[in-house]
Each structure stands twice: as structure tokens, then as C-alpha cells.
């Protein structure tokens, strides 16, 4: 079990402040949805937490260690990262892609590749090349390649945003159902955020503006402020529906 914490993160690029002293402590287990309007800094936060982008100031701690002090191999097998958009440059096969994901860990559990291949229903697709796969199949391949090492921390930048609803639900379920693990997912669909995740963090202009259990945070009016709309909150049998109100407040 490994949590991840951002301490006073500052990211400036080309004169713009993308993260503005953001602090956030996540985990060590559970599912966290990160929501916020476009340009809030969600993707930047995930990249800094993964170690892909370096912050101008501030630190990231993974478990009881500084992210910068981890070796590349330790970092890659501790933190799984799912990008918003993924397109390999070479037309690799499904099995080759999963294998590349597995090879980043030097302590891979026996049978992990077979288990991941089976879990994401890729067994029959092993020899198929990336260019021949559908969007849903591609999402499953990426999930298998990232999750094959069973990383204690998963940071996902809504990898399913462009999929149809059934495949999107499949992906969200795979991301959130990880017992004794931490899953942090940038979610664009607020209903999914409040239905599938235990905790929701609202980010705007590079800062955390609201943070709490999904059940209680749903009532928080700061969500309306951040998205600049008024939401109607409708309870459904299995979650919440947030509908942007069509009448002026």
C-alpha cells in the first residue's frame, strides 16, 4: 500500500501558471476522481505526480519517499500512468505491447502477463497489430500494459473519454476495482465521478477548491461555481445525476 502526496506544487510554463501551489494527499488505497473545467491543471497534475513533468517548485512524495529519489524502474513499477491519448509509433502486436508494459518491473509476479491478458479479454487478440484494433480493444490493451505490473498507485487521465458508454464503463470499473490499491482518475463525466469513485477532488486554476467523499461533496455548490453552470442534482437508484440546469438561477 502506497499513497501519493503533492506538496505545494508550482508549475509555470511559457508564462502561464498551470499548478499554483497545489497540495493534495491521496491514498494509500481507494478510488479518487479528479474533476474540473478545461485548463484547470488536471492533466498537468497527473504528469507531475507520475514524474513525466518536473514542477518548478514543490515536491511529490510516494509512500514515505520523495518521487525524485526513486529510480526510474522503481517509479515505473510503483506508479502506473494511463495517458489521455496513446498511439504507438510502430505497429506492435497486442502481446508485444503487454510484454513491454510487463518488462518495466523487475519483480513481475509469475503468470502476471497471462492474468492481465485474460482479465482484459485479449487472449484471442494476442497476435493482432495495433492498427487493426477498435477503440475499445485499444483501451483494453493499454489497460493491460499499464496494470500488468499491478502498480500500487494508478494515475489515469480519463483514457476512455472517446469511447462509447459501455466501453467507458468497462474501463472505469477496471480502474476503480483494485483492492488495496490507489486509483486516481481524471474524469470528465461528473455522473461517473460521483457514482463510481469514493472520493472526489475538484481542481480549478491550478488549485484544489473542494475535496471530500463523493456522497457528501455532490451537494457542494462550489462545483457549480467552478464549472460556471447551475447543476440540478438528481438521485438515481445507483448514484447521482448532475444535469446542467437549463433555467437561469
Amino acid at each position: 500500500m502506497t499513497g501519493i502526496a503533492a506538496n505545494n506544487l508550482l508549475v509555470r510554463r511559457n508564462g502561464a501558471t498551470l499548478l499554483d501551489g497545489l497540495s493534495l494527499s491521496l491514498g494509500p488505497t481507494g478510488s479518487v476522481a479528479i474533476i474540473g473545467p478545461n485548463g484547470a491543471g488536471k492533466s498537468t497534475l497527473l504528469k507531475v505526480l507520475t514524474g513525466i513533468d518536473k514542477p518548478s517548485a514543490g515536491t511529490v512524495r510516494v509512500g514515505d519517499r520523495d518521487l525524485a529519489s526513486l529510480s526510474n524502474a522503481q517509479r515505473a513499477s510503483t506508479i502506473g500512468y494511463l495517458p489521455q491519448y496513446f498511439e504507438p509509433h510502430w505497429d506492435l502486436s497486442v502481446a508485444e505491447l503487454v510484454r513491454l508494459g510487463a518488462d518495466r518491473s523487475d519483480r513481475l509476479a509469475a503468470g502476471a502477463i497471462e492474468a492481465a491478458t485474460e482479465k482484459f479479454e485479449l487472449t484471442a487478440l494476442g497476435r493482432r497489430r495495433w492498427s487493426t484494433l477498435s477503440g475499445g480493444e485499444r483501451a483494453r490493451v493499454l489497460l493491460a500494459a499499464v496494470l500488468v505490473v499491478d502498480p500500487p498507485v494508478l494515475l489515469a487521465d480519463e483514457p476512455a473519454a472517446s469511447l462509447d458508454i459501455r466501453h467507458r464503463l468497462d474501463v472505469i470499473r477496471a480502474l476503480t476495482r483494485r483492492p488495496d490499491r490507489l486509483s486516481v482518475v481524471v474524469v470528465h463525466d461528473l455522473d461517473l465521478a460521483f457514482t463510481f469513485f469514493e472520493r472526489v477532488v475538484v481542481i480549478d486554476r491550478g488549485k484544489v477548491v473542494a475535496d471530500g467523499p463523493a456522497k457528501s461533496l455532490i451537494e457542494d455548490r462550489r462545483i457549480d461555481e467552478v464549472f460556471s453552470v447551475r447543476f440540478d442534482r438528481l438521485k438515481t437508484p445507483d448514484g447521482w445525476l448532475l444535469r446542467a440546469s437549463t433555467t437561469n438561477s
Binding site: T50, I52, N72, A76, H89, W90, L92, R104
Partner: protein, 326 residues
């Protein structure tokens, strides 16, 4: 497995054809007699001249295949080529200096050394420029490479015009710039073989990380690759390979571009099989091209680089067209 067998058989066949081809055509029987230790004139011609030349062509082709594969892998661009990136241009400039400037050491020693130095310096320059410009990514390096290659080409032409007072030396440089494998002695061929094996080993060490880099820079970092450091190292390794190819074969165009493509069709895009396959394809291509260069217009010899350019140019256009359509 069958693909590898076919590649090796094709290489052996092209070597036999290469040994047979020339101003004076030999039969396979001549070749067998020569290999069995016969000492008549034809056999000695084969053993002392034809065979070393053919094998040198094969090794130069293998090096070009390896170099092209590394550069395409690093820049994740199937159109990347050593000649686009300054390293071949740097090697050519170093070799031109060796050919035109009278130096104390023997030319056979100075030329490879200066070619290495030129390729290395040009590559460092490309890396340096892209660093200073703040564009260490693949596209930035490629553009810096194009600019450096253009400057180096101009410098080489200037040297050729300024330093050659007799037409003979200009012709030597020109024929070398146009590409051509010199006939080596057996010890030099042994050196070339050792360099080629070392280059294969060096590039195979990069194979796994080239695969990871092929996932894109973001995913590569997430999968634990130190992307900037690896790119700089791989470019350097690639330029060592290219310098070796240029030192022994001059400027042979398009083989470094085409071999990885053909190899990818045969064994797929993973670099561990791709590198040796691309070396084999390059060896076959250059061996056959060299045979054509020696035998198409007897008694004259066409520069090897012209043969590969005539065949490779349309290949490049085909790739470009396919890429633009896709």
C-alpha cells in the same frame, strides 16, 4: 525461423552473384575452385580482389541497415536517415579532409579516423544545437540535423573546389562521395568484420529501450526510460555505426532508409529481431548493388551510390506518398 533462413540464403546467393559479377564474369565452378585453394590467375583474382570487395560491400550494407534502424527508432520516424541527421555529412567531411589535405599518417589510417571524428562532432553539434534551442525532442533534433547536414555539405564542396589543384584528386573524392566500396586487404576486411559485429552488439543493447521509446516520449518516461539521456546515447551509438559505414563505403544513399522498412515487413517492429534482420537486408542490397555497379557498364564502374540512389529514390517517394495518404 523461416524468414531468417531465407535472409541468410539470400545473402549467400547475393555474395555468390557478387563474386561472379564483374568485367570478367566467373562461374560458380570458378568460385569453388578458388575456394579449394587453386592458384591460377582467375582464382587469385577471385580470392584477392573479388571476394574481399564483395564481403566488404556486405558489411557496409549491414552497417547501413543497423544505422538506419537505430536512427528511425530514435526519431520514431520511418523517413529518418543518417544522411538527414548530419552524421553521414560529418563523416564525409572528415574523409574529404583525409583525401585532400596531405597529412603525415597514411591515408588508409587517417580516413576512417577522421570519418569517425566528423560523424561524432556533427552528431554532438546536432545535439548541442537542439539543446540550446530548447528542442531536445525528436523533431527538433531532426531539423537541427538537416541544417547541420546542409552546412557540412557546403563545406565539403568548398574544400573539394579549393584544395584540389589536380583533377585526379578531385575525381578520387568525387567517386568516394558518390559512394563506393574499396577493395580491402584481408586484414582490413577482418577489421571491418570485427567493427560490424561490435556495432551489432552495441545496437542490440539499445533494442529494448528503442521499443519503449516507440511508445511515445510520455509513455516511455512513465515506463521508466530516461528519455533525453537515452536519445543522446542512441544518437551517438548510431553515428558510430554510420561513421564505420561511411569510412568503408563512402556516401551510399537510401540503404539506411530502405533496409529497416523491408526488415519490418519480414520480422515486425520489435528492435531485437529488427536490428539483425535489417543488417542482413542491408548486406543483401549493397552486395547486389555493388555487383550491378561493377558489371553494368564494363569496363567502367558506376559509383555504388548512384545505383542505390536510382533504386532507393523511387522507394523513398513511395514511402512518402503512402505516409501522406495515411
Amino acid at each position: 525461423m523461416r524468414v531468417w533462413l531465407l535472409l541468410v540464403l539470400a545473402l549467400l546467393l547475393s555474395i555468390v552473384i557478387g563474386a561472379a559479377a564483374g568485367h570478367d564474369w566467373m562461374s560458380p565452378a570458378d568460385l569453388l575452385r578458388a575456394l579449394a585453394g587453386d592458384t591460377d590467375l582467375r582464382s587469385r583474382l577471385l580470392i584477392d580482389w573479388r571476394l574481399p570487395r564483395v564481403l566488404a560491400a556486405a558489411f557496409v550494407g549491414a552497417l547501413l541497415g543497423l544505422g538506419g534502424t537505430v536512427f528511425q527508432g530514435v526519431f520514431r520516424n520511418p523517413l529518418a536517415e543518417p544522411y538527414l541527421l548530419g552524421s553521414a555529412g560529418g563523416a564525409a567531411l572528415g574523409a574529404t579532409v583525409a583525401l585532400l589535405v596531405p597529412l603525415a599518417a597514411p591515408q588508409s589510417l587517417v580516413l576512417p579516423v577522421l570519418a569517425f571524428a566528423g560523424a561524432w562532432a556533427a552528431t554532438m553539434l546536432v545535439i548541442g544545437i537542439s539543446r540550446v534551442a530548447g528542442a531536445v525532442d525528436a523533431a527538433g533534433m531532426l531539423l537541427a540535423g538537416v541544417a547541420v547536414a546542409a552546412v557540412l555539405g557546403a563545406l565539403r564542396s568548398f574544400l573539394m573546389l579549393a584544395l584540389s589543384d589536380e583533377t585526379v584528386s578531385l575525381q578520387i573524392v568525387l567517386s568516394w562521395v558518390l559512394g563506393g566500396v574499396q577493395t580491402p586487404t584481408w586484414p582490413i576486411l577482418g577489421l571491418l568484420a570485427a567493427i560490424s559485429v561490435a556495432c551489432l552488439a552495441l545496437t542490440l543493447m539499445l533494442a529494448k529501450r528503442l521499443d519503449v521509446l516507440g511508445l511515445g516520449e510520455t509513455m516511455a518516461i512513465a515506463f521508466g526510460l530516461n528519455v533525453n539521456r537515452f536519445i543522446a546515447f542512441a544518437v551517438l551509438a548510431g553515428s558510430v555505426v554510420v561513421a564505420a559505414a561511411v569510412a568503408f563505403g563512402g556516401l551510399v544513399a537510401f540503404v539506411g532508409l530502405a533496409s529497416p522498412h523491408i526488415a519490418r515487413w519480414l520480422v515486425g517492429p520489435l528492435h531485437r529481431p529488427l536490428l539483425p534482420a535489417s543488417a542482413l537486408v542491408g548486406a543483401i542490397v549493397v552486395t547486389v548493388a555493388d555487383a550491378i555497379a561493377r558489371s553494368a557498364l564494363p569496363p567502367a564502374e558506376i559509383p555504388l551510390g548512384l545505383v542505390t540512389a536510382v533504386a532507393g529514390g523511387p522507394f523513398f517517394i513511395l514511402l512518402l506518398a503512402r505516409r501522406l495518404r495515411a
